[in-house]
C-alpha cells in the first residue's frame, strides 16, 4: 500500500439532482438573502462586479452569473509543496490526504499524564511526531503555543513546524498581519516569491462565521493573499441547530452559500487564485449548545460537502476523525473511526482534524496521535478496496492447493500478503496469555511508549541555516511591529 497514493470517491450521500438543487438554492440564497461582509473594500469590489450592496447593513447580494463566473475561474487541482518533494500534496479529484486538527489549547502531558496548556515545545514535538507517523501527510496548525506572545503565536507554531517536519504546512492566521506573515514564511522556505509560485510552501485558511457572515480580518486577509497568489482554504463551519439549520442538507446549503461568497470575492480580486473548498461543519448538541465535534453527522455532512466541491471541480478541505471524549477511550475510537471513514471514502482531498483531537477541538495528546495514525492506516487500507485481476482471483492457487491443503507455503501468498493485508503497528492481535506475558499493556500505554520512542530517536532534516535565521528574523520583526 502506498500511503501517498490514496483515492476515495466511493461513498456518496447525495443524488446528482439533489446536488444540482442545492447548487441552485445556494445561488438563490446569495442573490435573495445576500451575505454580510464586514469590510468596505470587499463590498466595493463586489459592487464593482455587479453585486447589490447595502452599505449601511453591509449586506451584499450576489447575482448568479457573478458567482458562476467566479467558479469557472477556480483551478481544479492544487499543488501544496512540502520541504521534501516526495511529500508534496496534490489536492485534486478523489485523492486523499490526512492531517491533524485545528488549534486545541490543552495537551495531555506525555510523562505526567496531566492536562496542561500547550507550549512551543509541544509544537516542536508534535511536528516531529507527525513527521514520523506514516499515515499523516501534512501539518495543520495543531496546538496553540500558550507560552509565547499571542499576537504572533501562529508564527511561532509554523516556525516550529518548518523546523521539525519536512511534510507540508498549513495554518490558520490569528490576524491579517499574521496571514501575510505566514505567507512570507512560506516564501522564505520556498526560496523567494517566484519559487513560491512554482512550489507554494503554505496554505492558509479563512472561514466565514455562520450564518452568512464574513468577518473583517478574514476578508482583509482573503484580499491580501489573493493579490499575492497565496493558496487559500475558503469555507465555513455552520453548527446544525445553532448557527445552521438542524437538517443536515440545510446546513450543507448554508455552507455552500457561505463558501461561494468567499471564493467569489477571492476570484474577483485575483482571477484563478488557487482556492480549496472548505467545509468543517458539524452539529451542536442541542441539550447544551456545545459543539459536537465527534458527531456521526459530521461524516455525512462532510461527504455531502465533498460531493458539492467535486460538482464545482474544486479541491476540498474537510474534517473527519474527531471526538468529544476527554481520554483515549472507546468513545474516541468509535467517533473518530466512523467520521474519518465517511470523509475519506467520500474523497476529501485535504482532510484535517484526522488525528489528535479530543473534547470539542480543545484537547490533544501524544498517545492519541499514535493511535490515530493506526486508525488512518486502516482507513487507507479501506480506500485501496479490493483489486480484482486474474492474479488476485487466485483460481490457479485454489486449484493447486485443492481441498484440505493450505496456502501458507505458496510464493503467491508471500507476494500478496504485504499489499493486501494491513499490518497493525500498534494494535495487539496476540492471544490473551501472550499479551499478558508482554506486560498486559493497555493501547494507551503502548502508544505512549511509541511516542516516546519516536521523540527520542526520530531526526528531521534541518532547515538550511540561512532559512532558519530568516524565519527567526521575520518573527522578531513581527513582534517589534505588532508588540507584545
Amino acid at each position: 500500500m502506498d500511503p501517498w497514493n490514496l483515492k476515495g470517491g466511493k461513498f456518496t450521500v447525495l443524488a446528482q439532482e439533489e446536488i444540482e438543487e442545492i447548487h441552485q438554492r445556494a445561488l438563490d440564497v446569495l442573490q435573495e438573502v445576500g451575505c454580510f461582509f464586514e469590510h468596505e473594500e470587499a463590498l466595493a469590489i463586489l459592487k464593482k462586479h455587479g453585486a447589490l450592496v447595502d452599505h449601511s447593513s453591509r449586506i451584499a447580494k450576489l447575482p448568479r452569473n457573478m458567482v458562476e463566473g467566479a467558479l469557472r475561474l477556480c483551478p481544479s487541482s492544487m499543488l501544496l509543496a512540502a520541504r521534501d518533494p516526495k511529500r508534496d500534496i496534490h489536492a485534486e479529484g478523489d485523492r486523499v490526504y490526512f492531517g491533524p486538527g485545528t488549534l486545541p489549547i490543552k495537551v495531555r502531558d506525555l510523562e505526567t499524564g496531566a492536562v496542561r496548556m500547550g507550549t512551543l515545545k509541544d509544537c516542536e514535538d508534535f511536528a516531529r511526531l507527525i513527521d514520523a507517523l506514516e499515515f499523516i501527510h501534512f501539518f495543520k496548525a495543531m496546538i496553540t503555543p500558550c507560552d509565547v506572545n499571542q499576537k504572533v503565536a501562529e508564527l511561532y507554531m509554523v516556525n516550529a513546524a518548518y523546523n521539525n517536519t519536512t511534510k507540508q504546512i498549513s495554518s490558520t492566521p490569528f490576524s491579517v498581519q499574521g496571514a501575510l506573515d505566514l505567507y512570507r514564511m512560506g516564501v522564505v522556505v520556498a526560496g523567494g516569491e517566484d519559487a513560491f509560485k512554482q512550489r507554494p510552501m503554505i496554505i492558509i485558511n479563512m472561514l466565514a462565521v455562520s450564518p452568512l457572515q464574513w468577518g473583517k480580518s478574514n476578508l482583509e486577509a482573503i484580499i491580501a493573499l489573493a493579490r499575492v497568489g497565496c493558496p487559500m482554504i475558503i469555507g465555513s463551519e455552520p453548527q446544525g441547530g445553532t448557527t445552521g439549520p438542524a437538517p443536515l442538507v440545510g446546513q450543507v446549503l448554508l455552507n455552500v452559500a457561505e463558501t461561494l461568497a468567499g471564493i467569489t470575492l477571492a476570484q474577483l480580486v485575483q482571477p484563478t487564485v488557487p482556492v480549496m473548498w472548505g467545509n468543517v461543519g458539524s452539529i451542536s448538541d442541542m441539550r447544551s449548545g456545545l459543539f459536537a465535534s465527534g458527531a456521526v453527522e459530521l461524516g455525512l455532512i462532510n461527504a455531502a460537502a465533498n460531493q458539492m466541491a467535486k460538482f464545482y471541480r474544486l479541491p476540498t478541505y474537510s474534517t473527519g476523525g474527531m471526538s468529544d471524549s476527554k481520554v483515549s477511550d472507546a468513545q474516541a475510537g468509535v467517533e473518530k473511526s466512523l467520521q474519518i471513514l465517511m470523509t475519506a471514502l467520500a474523497g476529501g482531498n485535504y482532510i484535517h482534524d484526522a488525528a489528535g483531537l479530543m473534547e470539542s477541538c480543545l484537547l490533544t495528546s501524544y498517545e492519541q496521535y499514535v493511535i490515530d495514525n493506526e486508525m488512518l492506516g486502516m482507513v487507507s487500507r479501506v480506500l485501496e478496496g479490493i483489486r480484482v485481476t486474474s492474479e488476485t482471483l487466485s483460481f490457479d492457487q485454489i486449484k493447486e492447493v485443492g481441498p484440505r491443503g493450505n496456502f501458507m507455503g505458496l510464493r503467491h501468498t508471500l507476494d500478496h500478503v504485504r499489499g493486501e493485508h494491513y499490518l497493525p503497528r500498534l494494535f495487539d492481535r496476540n492471544t490473551y496469555d501472550s499479551w499478558e506475558a508482554r506486560g498486559a499493556k493497555d493501547i494507551r500505554e503502548v502508544a505512549r511508549e511509541r511516542a516516546r520512542e519516536i521523540l527520542s530517536t526520530h531526526e528531521v532534516e534541518p532547515l538550511p541555516g540561512e532559512v532558519k535565521e530568516e524565519l527567526n528574523a521575520l518573527i522578531r520583526k513581527a513582534e517589534e511591529t505588532y508588540g507584545r
Binding site: 496548556m117 490569528f174 451542536s284 442541542m286 447544551s288
Partner: protein
C-alpha cells in the same frame, strides 16, 4: 379560580404557546389578578421548571428559547399593568454580556443570555467585538450587577484581561462581579486575570452568577 388561570399561564409557557400565554395574561388582568403574582407564580415558576429540565438534559435549546418567547408575550401584557400600579417585577440581578474585541463569534454568548433570562436575570447584551472601554461604559450606563465576557479565539482572550485592568484603573472594580467564558477559557485563566467566576458551559455560567449574587 385564580389557580386555574395561573396553571394555564404556566402550561402555555411550558407548551411553547405565546398566543395562549398572552391570552391568559389578558384574562388574568381582566379578572383582577395581581400582575406580580402572575409573573412570579405563573411565568417565573414555568421558566424555572424549564431551566431545571434543560440543566438535567431533558430539553433542547429551541424549547427553552420558544418558552422564553411565550413568557415574553405574557410579560408584555403584565408589565405595563404592573408599572401603572407603581410596582415592578423583581429581578434577581442585571447582567451585561459582550463578546470581546476582535471576536465576532456570538453563539455561546447568546446561549448564556437565553439561560440567564430564563433564570430571571435582566440581561443587557451589547453584542460582539467590544473593546474594554465600551464594555465598562455600558456597565456604568446600565447599572448592572454582573459583567459577563465571552471569547472563542485564543487571540482575543487578552481583551478580557484588558477590561479587568480598566475596571481597576477607573476605580469601579468592586462595583461589579465579572464572569468569563468561551471555548478556550479555563478556571486558571479566570483566576489569572482576577475574574470572579468562570462558566465551563452556559448552565454553569448561570449557577456561578447566582452564587456570586448570593442567590
Amino acid at each position: 379560580m385564580s389557580e386555574i388561570i395561573i396553571v394555564q399561564l404556566r402550561d402555555a409557557i411550558v407548551n411553547l404557546d405565546p398566543d395562549k400565554a398572552k391570552e391568559m395574561a389578558h384574562r388574568g388582568v381582566d379578572e383582577g389578578f395581581d400582575p406580580l403574582d402572575m409573573i412570579n407564580e405563573g411565568i417565573r415558576s414555568a421558566l424555572d421548571r424549564m431551566g431545571e429540565r434543560f440543566a438535567s438534559g431533558d430539553l433542547f435549546l429551541p424549547e427553552l428559547m420558544l418558552s422564553a418567547k411565550a413568557a415574553d408575550a405574557a410579560v408584555g401584557v403584565l408589565e405595563p399593568e404592573l408599572l401603572s400600579r407603581g410596582g415592578s417585577a423583581e429581578r434577581i440581578g442585571k447582567v451585561l454580556l459582550a463578546t470581546v474585541k476582535g471576536d465576532i463569534h456570538d453563539i455561546g454568548k447568546n446561549i448564556v443570555a437565553l439561560l440567564m433570562k430564563a433564570a430571571g436575570f435582566e440581561v443587557v447584551d451589547i453584542g460582539v467585538d467590544k473593546a474594554g472601554e465600551e464594555i465598562v461604559a455600558a456597565a456604568k450606563e446600565n447599572r448592572v450587577d454582573v459583567i459577563g465576557l465571552s471569547a472563542l479565539l485564543t487571540t482575543t482572550m487578552p481583551g478580557m484581561k484588558e477590561m479587568m485592568e480598566l475596571l481597576q484603573e477607573s476605580g469601579v472594580r468592586d462595583q461589579y462581579k465579572v464572569i468569563v467564558g468561551g471555548a478556550p477559557i479555563t478556571q486558571e485563566f479566570a483566576e489569572m486575570i482576577g475574574a470572579d467566576g468562570y462558566g465551563a458551559d452556559a448552565t454553569r455560567a448561570v449557577d456561578v452568577t447566582k452564587k456570586l449574587l448570593g442567590r
